[in-house]
């Protein structure tokens, strides 16, 4: 057997002080943002029964980190935040009157993400708004998602908003089989315009339908896009999807966040999981969306409670990567001040008190336990970039100097 004691397994990483500090701060800010919007944090276990993820068919079993308990039941490490919260809402919280506003900040584990830099353990923060099924709830969640990203310091942010019901309405209107609908939606989602056209031709769709498909693939924007589609679409399902998007835009405009969003009706992923509005957030320098979410009205019911739901999750590690690459990580200061003391009686006590007083102002302070002289302490602070040096001695006042 090989000896791996110096290594971390594939897809997991050590996070060093600078990044760890930025990450903890981000998580703390996120936590207060969520609670400031009335979302209560919950902590679900790191280990769930496999059935929690497998019975709803929402997660491919290959993606789960699995193990067994002593009775041979299959366990899975936490794969995402939403499904455990859905379980919670339908079980322990089943008597709580909706709406429920819940949040989490947890590490997720994905078995299949290996290879080439995608992490298999990563942190996500997210919210779930359960029991409200309207555009205003959708917009609340999108707005909180945008605020979360902006709060990290990322300013270049693009949010794409889609609506799966829009496409479902067209599928009904055109009378497509499930298989044909999947083929068409895959081609649209991959933005493979030629394959979309070929599929439309094979299915014998009308010219009007082909024009619509072309618009779905190519038109992005806000109200102008909705106007254009409203002028063309007749079926009720698609029209109410457009109405939902319009109301979402109205609300986002009142949140003063409209400048970040763009409608993309060609986003047609995870159609088994999401049931209405979906959205994703992008920034420069990371190849994956940092933010994702949408409405998933069928998930909670797999746990036995009829409860509509909308939520998002933010990729915390991805945000940190983006901040690092965009050169926006906050400067990291290990220690702000060092307090030394002379060897006369009582000076150590005075130094401890001085250090404590400084800490209470928010500074990071160490006491020099190696008993350096005043000159040695200056030199040491210089070498390690410690800005403030305080030397407590019997010769009258404490000496303080700024190290520049």
């Amino acid at each position: 057997m090989g000896n791996y004691r110096f290594h971390t397994p594939d897809g997991v990483i050590d996070i060093l002080p600078q990044e760890a500090s930025a990450k903890r701060k981000l998580e703390a800010d996120l936590r207060s943002l969520f609670s400031g919007h009335g979302y209560s944090e919950v902590e679900t276990p790191g280990i769930e029964y496999y059935d929690v993820y497998a019975s709803g068919d929402f997660v491919a079993p290959e993606g789960l980190f699995k193990t067994n308990d002593k009775d041979g039941r299959i366990l899975a490490l936490r794969y995402d935040g939403t499904i455990p919260v859905a379980r919670l809402a339908a079980t322990l919280l089943k008597d709580e009157k909706p709406p429920l506003r819940l949040s989490y900040i947890e590490n997720m584990f994905r078995f299949k993400e290996s290879g080439g830099g995608k992490l298999r353990e990563f942190s996500q923060g997210g919210v779930e708004l359960l029991g409200l099924d309207d555009a205003e709830a959708d917009a609340e969640v999108i707005a909180l998602g945008i605020k979360s990203v902006l709060m990290t310091g990322i300013t270049d942010l693009q949010i794409s908003i889609g609506q799966l019901e829009f496409f479902r309405g067209l599928v009904e209107e055109w009378g497509l089989s499930n298989e044909d609908a999947i083929e068409l939606s895959t081609a649209i989602d991959q933005k493979d315009i030629v394959r979309v056209e070929k599929t439309a031709e094979r299915l014998g769709l009308s010219e009007d339908a082909e024009e619509l498909l072309d618009m779905i693939s190519n038109r992005f924007g806000t109200y102008d896009v909705l106007d254009a589609f409203e002028a063309k679409v007749r079926n009720e399902t698609s029209r109410s999807a457009l109405k939902n998007l319009r109301e979402i835009l109205d609300a986002l405009s009142d949140y003063e966040l409209l400048q970040y969003v763009s409608i993309d009706l060609g986003m047609l992923r995870n159609m088994d999981y999401y049931t209405g509005m979906i959205f994703k957030g992008f920034t420069y320098e990371v190849g994956f969306p940092i933010l994702g979410g949408g409405r998933y009205n069928k998930v909670v019911s797999t746990f036995g409670r009829e409860l509509s739901a909308v939520g998002f999750s933010l990729g915390i590690n991805l945000c940190l990567t983006a901040l690092r690459r965009q050169d926006k990580l906050p400067e990291y200061v290990r220690v702000d001040a060092i307090v030394g003391y002379s060897q006369e009686e009582g000076m150590r006590k005075a130094a401890f008190a001085t250090a404590q007083a400084l800490r209470e102002t928010g500074l990071k302070v160490i006491v020099d336990t190696e008993h350096r002289s005043e000159e040695e302490l200056d030199a040491y602070a210089d070498e390690y970039g410690i800005e403030q040096v305080i030397f407590v001695s019997d010769e009258g006042e404490d000496k303080e100097e700024e190290n520049t």
Binding site: G117, K118, S160, Q190, K191, D192, I193, V194, G287, F288
Partner: protein, 219 residues
């Protein structure tokens, strides 16, 4: 700056020709050197020359915004990308091949051993499409040897002219997929660099349409 990952070799040259025909200055990409990154500040284009199997990886992770790569590689790698244009060139087929005597009898062999350079495509075809369990043997080249020497009953491989097959008493038994060169785009780049990428894709589509029309006339 738009970063374009090309599959080293013939496919790269054809892709550069097409970009040039679409009105882009690709002289940086044609530079004869051992450099792996060819960049032109002036045109805002950067080319990276990668092994074909790696192109989807570069694009998925956003290390490259755009890639040109064969459909066979895309099917085998199964990456999460926008697959936006079928360029038409590099056309061939992914096929199940075996001894001529097996023609029409493929389904009668139980517990097949299938040799291939493309284990994922093979698995998806037999397990997904044909609902059949098979033993897959991964090889790295000269796959035609496997059925001749008894390592496997059949192979899954790319067929262009079919000459190698014929000369070895093999034939196409079933077609798995049509293969040709594709343009792929990173899902984030498509949004964040839309103003540069969308016009480039439109220009490329136009060229492909012209190319296909010319081919149709010849044919």
């Amino acid at each position: 700056m738009i970063t374009i990952a090309l599959s080293k070799g013939r496919l790269a040259q054809k892709a550069l020709d097409l970009l040039e025909a679409a009105g882009y200055d690709v002289s940086a990409g044609r530079e004869e050197s051992r450099k792996l990154i060819l960049e032109d500040e002036k045109t805002g284009l950067r080319f990276i020359m990668a092994k074909p199997a790696d192109v989807p990886t570069y694009v998925e992770y956003g290390a490259a915004d755009i890639g040109v790569v064969g459909k066979d590689t895309l099917l085998e790698e199964g990456r999460n990308l926008y697959e936006v244009i079928d360029l038409g060139f590099g056309a061939c087929r992914m096929c199940v091949c075996g001894p001529v005597s097996l023609k029409g009898k493929l389904d009668q062999i139980p517990n097949k051993r299938v040799a291939s350079k493309y284990p994922n495509i093979t698995r998806a075809y037999f397990e997904g499409t044909k609902k059949e369990s098979v033993e897959i043997i991964k090889l790295n080249g000269s796959v035609e040897l496997a059925p001749l020497i008894g390592l496997a009953e059949v192979i899954v491989d790319i067929v262009e002219s079919g000459r190698t097959l014929k000369e070895n008493g093999l034939d196409v038994l079933e077609v798995v997929a049509d293969i040709s060169a594709r343009v792929v785009v990173n899902r984030v780049s498509m949004k964040m660099k839309e103003s540069e990428i969308v016009p480039m894709l439109d220009a490329l589509r136009k060229q492909v349409a012209i190319m296909n029309a010319a081919k149709a006339q010849e044919g």
